[in-house]
């Protein structure tokens, strides 16, 4: 079929497949294979992919008229292709960044040297809602705080990769990365096999290895569990998926109990000690005795067990201070400070709204800016300066002036586009990239690729699944 007939590119955007004269070389194979299919065959594949997700229960529930409707997260069948060379650069950049962020977390909860040397302003940390005083001075196994991260990367008009945000608490989506590949195996087997795509399927085993290594050293057969909020959580599928792929027990807060500063799970044979918890519950819900007292998801007394070193918690508690969007602006300085290196992956320029001069600059150039809340994710609380109505802007402005520390601004970056199969045609849509990196005692490992999130609405730059985003399989080819 005529692949490029309706392939319409917006100006000043980097398209990853088409450089406006010809198809980029690394897309040749995919492009040529796709040209062999007619629209019906592709629509057939699209339907098949949807059924595969549905039957496996990879769904989320939308509630309306007291009947829950199950939907799948939209999946676009056309893989996104990244070259091995580009990937190697990304890998080095993320490894460097995580090394620095781990050192920062260790420092900030112990000596606080970086504040004393005034590289990061103390006021910024003191005003960060995710700075967790309760974990000050607690040493964690191997000094690793960020075991699992999902750093979001975007590609600007120059084709460069930038870091958009660091997700260092409980990043989700890795099951989609793995399932997307499994679905591609079913719908494009020949194309996948002939493209020499780097493998992603060993992620759960790598993660399991790291979890085992976090157990107290004297334990020969540690018991590792995955702590989930339960079946009503929107990421529950992922929790069950990972637990199954690693062969560890999936527990809820009510399955665990603390006795004498040790964590146990309630089994049919009595209590059994737990040594490592991979938790998918936010910090504030973990222990009702220390954080939110009304949390029914957590385990009373968990913090004491953690403080005593009787249980390892992955990711560490208190990581939110390092992925606060205002602290993000200082990550390049952290890399220079702790590692004496230049950052490999650049940040997106970030304006702190608490600084009057920067705030004025942002307000004067609002049509080129996007304003974000420092502690929000999921695309909520964002103001796109080029789309905002005067009334909304007036309201947002008042909110910012009342509490400037809770906002940052960044220039609107046109994310790169890739081809998507939409309504029987190929159309360019904006994407980002979230590679999943794992830190263990042996260093940082990243499965090649990660999750490509795509804004399925035309010209939209918001890729979050809660805001009309979907995902794609991501291929790193050599």
């Amino acid at each position: 079929m005529g692949f490029l007939d309706q392939y319409d590119l917006s100006p000043n955007v980097w398209d990853e497949m088409y450089d406006r004269k010809q198809i980029r070389e690394h897309y040749h194979k995919v492009f040529n294979s796709l040209e062999q299919f007619d629209v019906n065959a592709l629509q057939q594949k699209d339907r098949l992919a949807g059924e595969l997700f549905m039957n496996q229960g990879i769904t989320f529930t939308v509630y309306s008229d007291d009947a829950g409707i199950e939907r799948i997260f939209p999946f676009d069948i056309i893989p996104r292709v990244i070259t091995g060379k580009e990937w190697d650069h990304i890998e080095l950049g993320i490894q460097q960044r995580l090394k620095a962020l781990n050192l920062f977390l260790k420092d900030i909860y112990n000596e606080q040297q970086i504040l004393k040397d005034k590289v990061v302003p103390a006021a910024l940390i003191a005003s960060c809602p995710h700075y967790t005083r309760e974990v000050f001075g607690i040493r964690v196994p191997h000094d690793i705080y960020v075991h699992i991260s999902g750093i979001d990367l975007i590609r600007g008009e120059d084709g460069q990769f930038y870091v958009l945000e660091d997700n260092l608490r409980t990043p989700s989506g890795v099951s989609y990365m793995l399932e997307n590949r499994e679905v591609t195996k079913r719908i494009f087997p020949e194309m996948l096999a002939s493209s020499h795509v780097r493998r992603v399927s060993n992620y759960p085993l790598m993660l399991h290895e790291i979890l085992l290594q976090m157990a107290p050293a004297q334990i020969s057969n540690p018991s590792v569990v995955l702590l989930t909020p339960g079946i009503y959580n929107s990421a529950y599928y992922e929790h069950a998926f990972l637990a199954r792929m690693m062969g560890i027990t999936l527990v809820e807060g009510r399955d665990l109990v603390i006795d004498n500063h040790k964590v146990y799970m309630k089994t049919t044979e009595g209590l059994e000690q737990v040594h490592v918890i991979y938790r998918r519950i936010d910090d504030e819900y973990l222990d009702p005795l220390v954080f939110k007292p009304d949390s029914a998801l957590g385990i009373p007394g968990l913090m004491n067990a953690y403080r005593m070193g009787n249980v390892a918690i992955v990711n560490a508690i208190g990581n939110g201070v390092a992925d606060d969007k205002a602290v993000y602006a200082y990550v390049p300085q952290m890399i220079r400070y702790y590692l004496n290196e230049e950052p490999i992956l650049p940040n997106v320029p970030t304006y702190e709204m608490s600084d009057p001069e920067q705030r004025k600059h942002v307000f004067d150039n609002i049509e080129k800016m996007v304003i974000k809340r420092t502690n929000q994710s999921g695309g909520y609380g964002m103001v796109m300066g080029n789309k905002v109505s005067p009334e909304e802007w007036a309201k947002a402005k008042t909110a910012i002036e009342a509490d400037p520390r809770s906002f940052i601004a960044q220039p609107i970056i046109k994310l790169s586009t890739v081809p998507c199969f939409i309504d029987g045609t190929f159309q360019a849509r904006h994407v980002d990239l979230r590679p999943y990196a794992l830190c263990g005692p042996q260093g940082v490992q990243i499965v090649p690729g990660g999750l490509t999130r795509v804004a399925l609405r035309k010209d939209s730059l918001i890729v979050n699944s809660s805001q009309g985003g979907g995902s794609k399989d991501t291929w790193v080819i050599d």
């Binding site: 039957n55 496996q56 229960g57 009947a67 069950a240 199954r244 027990t249 999936l250 399955d255 049919t268």
Partner: protein
Amino acid sequence: MLSRIADSLFWLARYMERAEGLLRVTATHYLLSLDKDVNGALTWQSVLETFTTATPAEIEATKNQTAEALKLLLTSNSNANSLKMIISKARENARGIQDYITKEVWEEVNSFYHLINQPTLDKRLSSYEAADMLDLFTRHSVLYTGITDITMARGTGWGFMNLGKYIERCFETIVLTNKHYQINHYKIHESKDIMQWRQLLMSLSGYELHLKTYRSSADNHDVLHQVLFNEDFPHSVVYSLGRIDRHLQDVTKRNFSEENAALMRCFGRLHSKVKHTDLDTLNNHTLHPYLEELRGEVLQFTKLLGQQFFSYA
């Protein structure tokens, strides 16, 4: 094993067994209801009374309307015991233990759930496709049984699943038997046309076995023997209790505790009540209380089992 997981496995198995029982009864009744000549007035009343939470007035309004009755039994949201509700509950249990059950078992329960939630179902059930749909559901149900059997690991979890399955089956046979003998006023020693018993036997997949095994004309007596005491009949009460015995031994051995003894005694009393009862000692007057006592003791045993192994919240 986590108590919560044991609990969910138990209920997953119970709900799936309940679904299978409901399907067999419904399919049997549907096909027999097409033969108007059986006794001219076969209604859905007894089935609706046994298997739904509908009020007497609703049953009265529905009992002569096959399409409405099917809807109430299979796809209704208002009947807490419709196939749709049962499968939803089974799936909810399966979802909470996805890491424990195999991917295959989860996918089967999940696809059954999506099948029963198809919006066009009601229309198809009121058309000529009704029998096909019932077959399709039944196929999913037996597929679940097969997939569970060939993919689930043996061990504590397997024990709890089977306890759930056979306790449910035991209940179902007792309740259905009671209903049918109630219609016949518990007259064990009289004989009715075997065609009248076909409905019960086919609902329990035992009609062929009956024809092969029993040669006398004392049908009321023979059918009762088959559903209560025939060791070879997989839906008989004695067979189900035998299975429960086996899995209970297994589960208590793997999860030793002092309190297991009380549970074993409770089950022992129940089991011997069936094993050591002579059919000839039952008569028109004693059959009804006997069945009621059995039901009560199964209930009591189930309660104890839950207290012993599933208390976690």
